[in-house]
């Protein structure tokens, strides 16, 4: 059984159709990359999968671990193991990153019948993960994403992913805004999480990221549908040709 099965997905935002019959299957252990022109519906797909309000599914189904994902509330999906690294991480003033992380991790642990981390244990747990991502104690003490640089925000997203240990992680343009060193740190962090059970859906505009996080499959999303799929070479090809051909086809 596949980890994630999306069949003929149609979704609207403010009554405007954005996804128009999207099919995609991700198996455990697989890394899929989605590329596509601006406005083609990549972020929309990530929001539909993670259950954001206002993103209305009008047709199709999504199975996650065999369960009907679309029936679940956003927080339930998260606790079940769907993680979204945001294209634009959100600031929460006054809430320290470490408190935020602990609240999140404990919510997921509770869901799985595990005992919550107390403050001391959690510091140990998170420090270990943070050091690999070059996230300092100082950053953990600052308010969530508040005043973080673009690169710091993205590293914090990956730290959250690593702390929450999801079954399916969707990374929405996690590479954008990263300098070369940060890109490597983030990619190493993601690669460290590759496992036989976990599925990864990497949304990106640049083939460069895929040199570090090597995908098993690459898909082109245009006008709300997957219009072409291939291996990692497809990304290299797209870098040369661009998306013109798909936009004409779909029009």
């Amino acid at each position: 059984m596949a980890l994630l099965e999306i069949k003929n997905l149609h979704a609207t935002v403010d009554d405007k159709p954005i996804l128009n019959g999207l099919d995609l299957t991700i198996g455990g252990g697989e890394v899929h990359a989605i590329m596509g022109p601006n406005g083609s519906g990549k972020s929309t797909l990530s929001y539909v999968l993670s259950g954001r309000e206002g993103y209305v599914v009008t047709e199709g189904e999504v199975l996650f671990d065999g369960k009907n994902l679309l029936e679940m509330e956003a927080d339930e999906r998260a606790r079940e193991g769907v993680f979204l690294a945001f294209q634009y991480p959100v600031e929460i003033p006054g809430v320290t990153s470490i408190t935020f992380l602990r609240t999140a991790v404990n919510a997921v642990r509770k869901h799985h019948g595990e005992s919550p981390f107390d403050a001391m244990d959690f510091v140990k747990y998170i420090r270990e993960k943070a050091s690999g991502l070059n996230v300092s104690d100082d950053m953990l003490k600052r308010a969530v994403n508040t005043g973080f640089s673009g690169g710091e925000k993205k590293r914090m997203e990956i730290l959250q992913m690593s702390a929450l240990d999801p079954k399916l992680a969707i990374l929405d343009e996690t590479d954008s805004g990263l300098d070369i060193d940060a890109l490597k740190i983030v990619a190493d962090g993601v690669n460290a999480m590759r496992s036989d059970e976990r599925g990864l859906l990497v949304i990106t505009h640049y083939q460069r990221l895929l040199d570090y996080i090597v995908p098993d499959h690459v898909h082109v999303l245009a006008k709300g549908r997957i219009v072409k799929s291939g291996g990692k070479d497809l990304a290299v090809e797209l870098e040369k040709t661009g998306y013109a051909e798909f936009l004409e086809d779909a029009a």
């Binding site: 993670s50 259950g51 954001r52 309000e53 206002g54 509330e73 956003a74 927080d75 998260a78 606790r79 993680f83 979204l84 945001f86 991480p89 959100v90 600031e91 929460i92 003033p93 006054g94 809430v95 408190t99 935020f100 609240t103 999140a104 991790v105 919510a107 997921v108 869901h111 308010a143 969530v144 959250q160 929450l164």
Partner: protein, 489 residues
């Protein structure tokens, strides 16, 4: 261990006797409904007060008769019939719930979330006969309180009920009672002056730093909170005390109207930190049955370099109306006001502070965080007055409002009166809403909606929460979440 069991047994027996005695006492201590001079005399007599105290009460009562109930504040409430209330009476037992089964299940839910043991729940919910049931809870708190008291006495610190202070320390009470809030101050304070029956008295002698937080919590468990509480705290030269009022458990009361008075006095180089968590019963979703909380709290920073800090977390009551204030008389004295006010459903709150700068180089700082949800309405009303002689006075005010949903309201009404050109007065105000993007971000990380709201709101109030004593802060954070339940979605 055996000794403990014996002590417990003894207390249990005493508890039984007490319960019995209490019933007979009710008959004889019952004052009829209504308010008149005889009632005032009756109260004074029951409290075994000296003549001067009675005279003061009567002066207040006579003055009250000439006053009109204020109408300027934002909250409108149904008229209170002052002649239809008891001013000295044990609550009628017939009106009390017979067991927890009869208590509003929503209230019980809150107790459970706060982790309050069943027996204490009964006391808080006012279940008939509960004090006897909760005998060991009372026993615990009494013994703790007694240990505290001995330790405090060693240092010359006085911490007792106001009635005891009137009898045992008349010279202090006479000197300071009404010196900050005069009996003629305002309608509710004047009423309080005439009929107050309970409250705390604290005196910290020169140069002493009170070694522990003083808390009303123990006293509340042992006695019932009064409808008209009167608290007086005096910090003598160079002394320091931190005082905690209230507790986080929602408290129900037979009496709808609560009109307390709190007076604080700091002499040279002294400091008082006064923290309140107020969680009176707010009533049901429509506000029915909730408490009206009309309180007068005022501090006089009389001495040079003295300081008073008010911190309040207000989540309860149907209607709250209070303005903890500082009169900065001493040169270089400092007044601070940190406030979190949460109103949900049909709650109304009109709160704020007054900082009166009289001495030179006096400073004040006001941080107010208002959170409104449901149909609630909230007003921040603050006055900063700089008098002619207050050279170099400075004030900083920051008022932030957070709205949850689109049916609630928040208003900010700052009054600034400066008669001294060297004064610096700064005011900043913001209004924001909890963003859908923030909520979704939290939920995407696994938190349910209520947890997410609590986290975001606690972040919003952090600056104020940080000023609370540690244990209090933890409870207050939980309380923020609980009082906003059901406010989203």
């Amino acid at each position: 261990m055996a000794a403990d069991a014996e002590a417990l047994e003894q207390v249990r027996t005493i508890g039984e006797q007490y319960k019995y005695g209490f019933v007979t006492d009710i008959e004889s201590e019952f004052a009829p409904k209504g308010l008149n001079e005889d009632i005032v005399r009756f109260i004074s007599k029951k409290k075994e007060e000296p003549e001067w105290m009675l005279e003061w009460r009567l002066k207040a009562y006579r003055h009250w008769l000439t006053m009109e109930e204020p109408k300027w504040q934002k909250p409108q409430y149904p008229a209170i019939d002052y002649q239809d209330s008891y001013y000295y009476a044990a609550p009628k037992s017939g009106d009390k719930p017979k067991s927890l089964d009869e208590v509003d299940p929503q209230l019980l839910e809150v107790y459970e979330k706060l982790g309050i043991p069943l027996r204490e729940q009964e006391v808080l919910a006012g279940v008939e006969g509960a004090p006897a049931i909760a005998v060991d809870a009372v026993f615990d708190s009494v013994s703790v309180a007694t240990t505290y008291k001995a330790k405090l006495e060693e240092q010359g610190i006085i911490f007792c009920s106001i009635s005891e202070a009137v009898r045992e320390h008349p010279e202090l009470v006479k000197q300071y009672l009404g010196s900050v809030v005069p009996y003629s101050d305002n309608y509710f304070a004047t009423l309080n002056s005439a009929v107050f029956t309970d409250g705390s008295f604290v005196y910290i002698p020169k140069g002493k730093r009170c070694p522990m937080e003083l808390s009303t919590y123990f006293r509340i468990n042992a006695e019932n909170t009064g409808q008209f509480e009167r608290t007086l705290i005096i910090a003598d030269e160079g002394s320091y005390v931190s005082y905690l009022e209230g507790c986080t458990a929602p408290q129900r009361d037979e009496n709808q109207l609560h009109a307390a008075v709190v007076e604080l006095v700091t002499l040279d180089d002294a400091e008082i930190k006064y923290s309140t968590v107020q969680n009176w019963y707010p009533g049901d979703e429509t506000g029915k049955g909730g408490i009206y909380n009309f309180v007068t709290k005022r501090a006089a920073c009389r001495g040079k370099n003295s300081k008073v800090s008010w911190t309040q977390v207000e989540t309860g009551s149907a209607i709250t109306w209070k303005y903890p204030s500082c009169i900065l008389q001493g040169d270089n004295s400092v007044g601070e006001f940190y406030s979190v006010a949460i109103t949900n459903n049909a709650q109304l709150a009109d709160t704020g502070t007054k900082m009166i700068h009289i001495g030179k180089n006096t400073r004040s700082r006001i941080i107010s965080k208002g959170i409104s949800a449901g149909n609630a309405d909230q007003t921040y009303r603050g006055l900063v007055r700089v008098q002619r002689g207050a050279n170099g006075a400075r004030n900083y005010t920051q008022c932030d409002s957070l709205l949850i949903g689109d049916k609630c309201g928040a208003h900010t009404v700052p009054y600034i009166e400066s008669q001294n050109p060297s004064a610096q007065v700064e005011h900043e105000a913001t209004t924001s809403r909890i963003g859908d993007d923030q909520l979704f971000y939290c939920r995407q990380r696994g938190m349910d909606e209520e947890e997410a709201v609590a986290l975001i709101v606690n972040g919003f109030c952090k600056e104020v929460m940080q000023t609370l004593p540690m244990e209090f802060a933890v409870e207050a954070q939980k309380l923020v979440g609980i009082s906003l339940e059901g406010s989203v979605g």
